[in-house]
Structure formats: C-alpha cells, structure tokens
C-alpha cells in the first residue's frame, strides 16, 4: 500500500479553472477555505470553447458577476440586446424575434470568448485563493483520484506528487477524467451529447455596428435551423463579439454519426448561406476553428454528482441545459460551483466536512438547478415524442398538407410566440421534427427568398488545423479497436478528420493481408482539439494531454 501520510494537503482542491471551477474557488476563498486550483492549460481558457453566451439568471442563487464584480466590464464581449431565429429552406428564410425567450429569467447575457474570459477569472482566482494559503497553478493535469482504503482522499497529477484534500471539486470539463475515474459518468451513448464546432471571424468593430445595425455596447444573437445542415439534428448560431463574430453549429452527436456528416462541412454550409452575406461581407478572415462536446443535461446531468470527498460541477457533471435552441451551460456551472463550496462550508461548520457531497446534491435540488437541467416536463412529454413510432408519425404529419396548413394558420406571430416560450422549448423532443422538419416547412410556407451573393470561402480543414497552436506531447489517445466497424465513425465525426483527408486525427485504410482486405482506422493525435468525440463514438482509451501540452486556443 502506498504511504499517503507525507503527501501535501489542502482543504480543497479545485480541478479546472473554467467558470465552474472559478466560482467554486472564489466561493471557497470567500469563506477562508485553503484552496488549491489546478488547471491543465498553459493559461486558463486555453483549453476551453463555448458558443458562447454566458447568462445571469434571475432565479439563480449565484451569478458570475456576484462572485467576480468587474466580470462584465473586464471579461466579456458584447451584451446580447437582440435575438433572432432563422428558419431556413434553401434560400427561403423566415426569421423570428425570440428576444423574449432569451430574456426569460435572464438578468443579462453577454457573448464571451473563453481565453479572455477564463484567464481573467483565473487571475482573480489566484489572488483570492493565495490569501487562503492555496493558489492557482497552470500546466498541471490532474489525471486521477487518490484513494485510501478505497475512499477518495485527493488527486493524482502528471506533474506533481499526489495531493490530499477534504474536498475535491471536479470542474475538469466535459471530458472529466475524475468523473470517469469515480464511475459517475461514462462516454458511452452518443445520444447524451451534442458536438459543437465554431469559427471565430475577425471583424472591425465599426463593421459589426454597421452590418448588424447596432451601436457600441449592443450585440446580436442569431440562431439557424432548417434544411441547411443536410438533415442532421441541430442548428447554428452567430454571436457578435467586440471585434469578431462567433459562428458555429451544434448537433446531436448520434445524428452526426448516423448521417456520417462532416462537422466542418456543416459549419461551412452555414458560413456560405446567402443569409450570412449581409454580415460577413467579402473580407472573411477566420481567426480560429474550434470544437467541443456538450452534454445534454436532460439525459446526462448526474442527479447525485458526488462520491466520498469528490463533487462534480459544470460540464463534468453534465450540467448543460439545452432549452430548445438556447444552450445554457456556464451559468449552471457557476451556480453549481458556488453551491458545492457552500455545501463544504456548511459541512465543515457541522464538523463533518466529508458530508459536503450530500449537502451539495440537496442544494442543487432545493435551488431548482436540477429541475432546470432535467425538467420533469421533458421527462414525460419530450421523451414520449422521441419514441420512434411517434416521432415518425409526428414528422410525417408536420410535413403533410395538414402540417403545412397549420403553419400557415398559426402564422408568423403565433409561431414567434411559440418559439419564444420557455415551456415549449423545454419539452422539445430530440427528433428531426423540431430541428429540421418544422423550421423547413416554416421557411417554405412563410419565408422570403434571400437574394444575396455570399462570397465567403471558408478555409480547408488542413488550413484550419494549421492555424491552431499546439505543443505536441505524447499521444494521449489510444485506439483500442482499430477495425472500421468499431472506430470508423470517428473518421467523419471527429471535427479535425474527414474522409479523403490525410492530415486529420482519424483516417480509414484498406490493408491487404494474405488474400483478404481489412478496413481499418488509424489515429494520429497531433491535430487533436481534445473535444472527446472519439471517446464516445470510437473504441479508444482517451486521456487529456499532460499539463501545457496539446492544443492551445487563443480565442476559445
């Protein structure tokens, strides 16, 4: 048995300094808890990607600017002052203003770029936690849980000796190695995940103001659905930053894999659509291509995200709410992080610090976080609509004369109100009907033709990879089964791989052996953007690269 008595000890170790980890650390430090924060990137935010809008919900007990007072002034881009959803069928587009859905329960929401946001948070976190005797360290990858007599007592890392703690906050993101080590989360079912890809596009602030008809201190959020994504379930988004645009797509991972779609091509479908010509102009300059997995909290949020001294917060716990077309993750991570800290402080006051997990679970329930993440209404109505025979009938009816008549009968006003209803959006089933069929019909029946010449030529995948910054370490993903049958899906689903592209992570190969031919998959982790898609869709042994290694996002 390993002797653990000599190991360093901190009251709390927070793994990851995204919004969840930062909130936990700040709330712990505010309560004088000695807190060590370990971040694997060269800088907080260098491993993080969001769409990204960050929300402050009126109903939430904690918002990010409660914990970090100058947050909006220092760390965000533009506030979203107008919101639209565009239903697209070919070049027919029906646009609805969904600002009321967006503003529902929302104190404010701002566009963010994660490198800027998280690195600013990390500086504050370091200052705050250093006061407690802890602090923040970058380039340290926590790679597992330290156990004593089978019980979690701390963490192990690639760079440091093991560290013991009374509380371990796993805020290590969507591909949390700690959640997996504890057996709390798995990477098995593609239908529990979305995959997002994004392009950050450089644009002069004055061009943004002119092209969107806004002024300084104002911003737009646009969502896109319909037939522009080859039938894959999901949608697109466009947000205005200070001097760039974030344009991306988010798809159900199971739909991406079923359709064998190439994520970067679906993104290009959006970028080159005539509707975007008015905003992109003819000087398209892509700053960064990025990707991430997004847990679907309706299915993946762990109802009891803790074990021994370990608590999971944010993406690591699947706390990512898809409310119809609006995705809320960072705000829930902040609330969860702060509630985990609160739970530890309460538990410590009762002289039972190791009861923090149970208290955290209770707080998530009492504060209404779990209900937002796994709404009861979805569990009944949404799930029912997803049952295969029902979804097929619904889809067929929507696309029939009756469905089309219905759309016309309702008209744009009522449809806009329906799209703006949080209740409707919460029960939206994960089928083709709401993502593809209905938006397409709406566009066909009510839309107007967009007659614009979109001149954007998105970069090829090898240029997108070539523009990213990497510090290549040892291979961090191992292909366990390299047969095409087991792992071939990764060739298309991986956002930095594609059929007939030799420079990506995954390639399929036909290898001739003694009279027969085998269809195999090969892997090169060098271009990996660490999204975790292949961990779900292929048979791999998946780990993060060591501290400071791998991709380094400059925008995020």
């Amino acid at each position: 048995m390993t002797e653990t008595d000599d190991y360093e000890h901190y009251e709390a170790v927070v793994v990851g300094c995204g919004p969840g980890g930062a909130a936990a650390a700040a709330a712990l430090a505010n309560n004088d808890v000695e807190t060590l924060v370990l971040e694997r990137g060269v800088d907080a935010g260098s491993k993080n990607v969001s769409g990204g809008l960050v929300y402050a919900e009126e109903s939430s007990p904690y918002t990010i600017d409660d914990l970090f007072p100058d947050f909006r002034e220092e760390a965000t881009e533009r506030p979203t002052t107008e919101n639209y959803i565009h239903n697209v069928a070919g070049d027919q587009v029906a646009s609805f203003d969904i600002s009321s859905l967006h503003h529902h329960d929302s104190e404010w929401s701002d566009a963010v770029l994660r490198r800027k946001m998280d690195s600013w948070l990390a500086e504050r976190v370091h200052e705050m936690t250093r006061e407690t005797g802890g602090g923040l360290l970058t380039e340290v990858r926590v790679n597992g849980l330290l156990r004593e007599n089978g019980e979690i007592v701390g963490v192990t890392t690639s760079e440091l000796d093991p560290i013991k703690a009374d509380l371990v906050v796993a805020a290590d993101g969507v591909n949390s190695e700690l959640a997996r080590d504890a057996g709390l989360m798995d990477w098995e079912d593609p239908d529990e995940w979305f995959q997002g890809v994004k392009a950050v596009v450089e644009m002069d602030p004055e061009d943004i103001n002119e092209r969107f008809g806004i002024e300084e201190g104002e911003g737009h959020a646009h969502l896109f659905s319909g037939d522009l994504f080859d039938g894959v379930r999901g949608g697109g988004f466009l947000y205005t930053n200070e001097d760039s645009l974030s344009i991306g797509t988010v798809f159900h991972l199971d739909s991406l894999t079923e359709e064998e779609a190439e994520p970067h091509e679906l993104l290009d479908n959006l970028l080159t659509h005539p509707l975007l010509a008015q905003w992109l102009g003819d000087d398209y300059e892509e700053l960064e291509y990025s990707a991430k997995l997004v847990p679907d909290s309706k299915k993946a949020a762990h109802p009891s995200p803790h074990q021994d001294r370990l608590v999971l917060v944010g993406d690591a716990a699947g706390q990512m709410q898809a409310q119809g077309p609006i995705i809320k993750g960072m705000n829930h991570a902040v609330t969860a992080g702060a509630l985990a800290a609160e739970a530890f402080v309460d538990a410590k006051a009762r002289n039972d610090p190791h009861a923090a997990g149970d208290l955290y679970e209770q707080k998530l329930r009492d504060e209404g976080v779990m209900e937002k993440l796994r709404p009861r209404s979805y569990r009944t109505l949404g799930k029912l609509a997803e049952a295969d025979p029902i979804s097929k009938v619904t889809d067929a009816v929507a696309d029939s004369a009756i469905g089309r008549a219905g759309v016309n009968l309702l008209g744009p006003g009522i449809l806009e109100r329906l799209f703006s209803s949080p209740r409707m959006m919460a029960v939206m089933p994960d089928t083709r009907t709401p993502y593809v069929t209905i938006p397409t019909i709406i566009a066909e029946e009510l839309g107007e033709r967009v007659d614009a010449d979109n001149t954007v030529e998105p970069p090829e995948l090898d240029d997108r990879i070539g523009d990213l910054t990497y510090d290549v370490g040892d291979p961090h993903i191992e292909l366990v089964d390299n047969s095409f049958e087991a792992s071939g899906t990764a060739v298309t689903a991986c956002p930095v791989s594609a059929k007939d592209f030799g420079g990506g992570c995954y390639r399929d190969e036909h290898v001739k052996t003694n009279g027969s031919e085998e269809h195999l998959v090969s892997l090169d982790t060098q271009p990996c953007v660490e999204c975790g898609t292949c961990a779900v869709v292929a048979d791999t042994h998946w780990e993060h690269p060591d501290g400071g290694k791998g991709v380094e996002y400059k925008q995020g």
Binding site: E8, L36, R130, G134, L160, D161
Partner: protein, 293 residues
C-alpha cells in the same frame, strides 16, 4: 541559505542577432550582449534552492558597466535578490585566471560566506569552462574562505539544510554517459551542466515559484541600474592591479584564426516559373519523393 551565482555577458549568438564582418570576425558593436545561456541554468539551480529553502540569491559578474543589463536580464528571466558587478579599467582584458581572482575576492568582500556558489558550465564565447573551478581554487589561495568541495556537471540538486549537505546528480560523459549521485558538505561550489533541470514536485513549491517569479519581474521592471546594482572597483576590493586584468593574465593569445565558412552541401539551380521545360524537369525530379516515400 545564501547563494551566489556567477555570470558573464556574451554576444547573443542566436541567428538574426549576431553580426560578423567580411573576414568572419565578430562585430561586437552590432551584436547585443546577453547573459551567458549556461549561466541561466546556474541561476535556475540557485532559484530552485531559494524556492525550496528560502534565503538570498546574489547574482554577480565582472565586466564593463554595460553588464548591469546582463544582471537585470538574470533578475527578470530567472530570479535574483541582489546584483553585484566588479568593474573598472584595471580589470579589463582579463583571462580566466585573473577573472577568477577578482571574483573570488569579490565574494570574500560580501562579508557573509555563501552556503552555495553556482557557476554555469563554460561561456558561449570563451568556451573554456575554467572560471568557475578556478574561482574555487582562488579561495584556497587567498585562504580567507574555507576550503569547499567542487561539484561539476550538475543536472539536478537539492540541499539538506539540517544535515548541512548538498546532494547532486552529475552527468559524466564518456563512451557511455553515466549519471553519478554525489553528496558534499556545505558550503560548496557547484557548476551546473547545460542539461540541468529544475524540479518542482509539490504544489506549494510551484506556488512559491510563481510568487517569486512575479516578485523578481516586478523588481526588474522598476530597476534603477545606477542605484540597484552594487559596483565594486579594484580599490573597493583591495586588489593589486598587477594581479588582475590584462597584467594579471598569464594567458598569451598568439593569434586568432577565423573559422572558415562551411561549404554548402547543396547545389542550387534557379528555374524561372515561366520556363516550362525547366519546370517539367523539376516536376520529374521531385515526383519520386511525392507521397512521403
């Protein structure tokens, strides 16, 4: 723990920085002076001792007044609590022996015997590797400081304050390179190898490292080179001009041969893009190498 680190300013030999004239002579005026890269390893070893055990790191050099910037570079890029420069005309044109004598006397002049003296393995310009070990030798000659063990080619080290010892790994190169672990009593003289690597395996060490790095950078940003570098001349050190500088240097340079330029191994042939036949030849020539074969 008091640690003294020795450094020298050398021409910046990195591509794009260094200038040579037509005869292949170094143009000192056009080439910036930087801290000898190997000495940064020495300073890193001293900094590691500071992070782990506290104390003071003094960075020291002998040379013209412009070397104050070299000391500042050490403070900014690695760490230093205080900076010392031994400088005047009498010290000029010294060989390694006269330099060692000056530095040894300067260290004695500190008034507090250092627990550790660390030098880097040879300078990028002189390449002798003599000055460090000779400085230690001069202590014995002067007999002002205690005889101290010399450990060279150090790639990893740590001190045990309680036991009053330093433990080091040495890279011993031969037909087969070996790593030797040695232990010596403090005070000791250490020469780091170019392969020296700092190691910080605990979070508290890394946090202290981060604090001290921020602190030393802030000090370097605010530095007043006139005020903040202690400059001693030969009179301050009570050194006889006959034993330092050019007069105190037994080395006689009989001549300097420029290093001939290495002949190019490749022959280039220019093909204009408009020259169709020439381009076809190029295509034929490169085709066999296409596809990564």
């Amino acid at each position: 723990m008091r640690t003294v680190v020795l450094t020298k300013g050398v021409p910046d030999f990195r591509e794009g920085q260094v200038s040579f004239d037509e005869d292949g002579h170094l143009e000192r005026g056009k080439t910036p002076t930087v801290m000898n890269p190997n000495d940064k390893q020495a300073l890193r070893a001293a900094f590691q001792t500071k992070v782990r055990h506290g104390g003071t790191v003094s960075l020291m050099s002998m040379g013209p007044p412009g070397y104050k910037e070299v000391l500042e570079e050490g403070m900014r890029d690695v760490y230093a609590d205080d900076l010392y420069l031994f400088s005047d005309r009498e010290m000029g044109a010294a060989d390694t022996w006269a330099t060692a004598m000056t530095i040894a006397t300067g260290i004695e002049h500190l008034g507090e015997e250092p627990d550790l003296i660390v030098a880097g393995f040879k300078t990028a310009d002189g390449e002798t590797g003599h000055t460090g070990p000779q400085t230690n030798w001069c202590f014995d000659i002067n007999e002002n400081l205690a005889d101290r063990p010399l450990i060279t080619h150090v790639i990893a080290m740590d001190v045990d304050e309680e036991a009053g010892t330093v433990r080091a790994k040495r890279l011993v190169e031969g037909d087969v390179s070996e790593i030797e672990t040695v232990e010596a009593d403090l005070p000791a003289f250490v020469v780091t190898d170019g392969e020296f690597e700092s190691s910080y395996r605990t979070a508290s060490q890394r946090l202290t490292y981060k604090d001290l790095r921020e602190e030393t950078q802030a000090r370097a940003d605010d530095i007043d080179l006139e005020e903040d570098v202690t400059v001693w001349n030969h009179e301050d050190l009570n050194l006889d001009p006959d034993f330092i500088g050019l007069d105190g240097s037994p080395t006689i340079v009989s001549g300097v041969d420029p290093i001939p330029k290495a002949p190019s191994e490749r022959e280039a042939q220019v093909v204009e893009p408009g020259d169709e036949e020439g381009m076809n030849d190029v295509l034929e020539a490169v085709t066999p190498y296409a596809g990564g074969d």
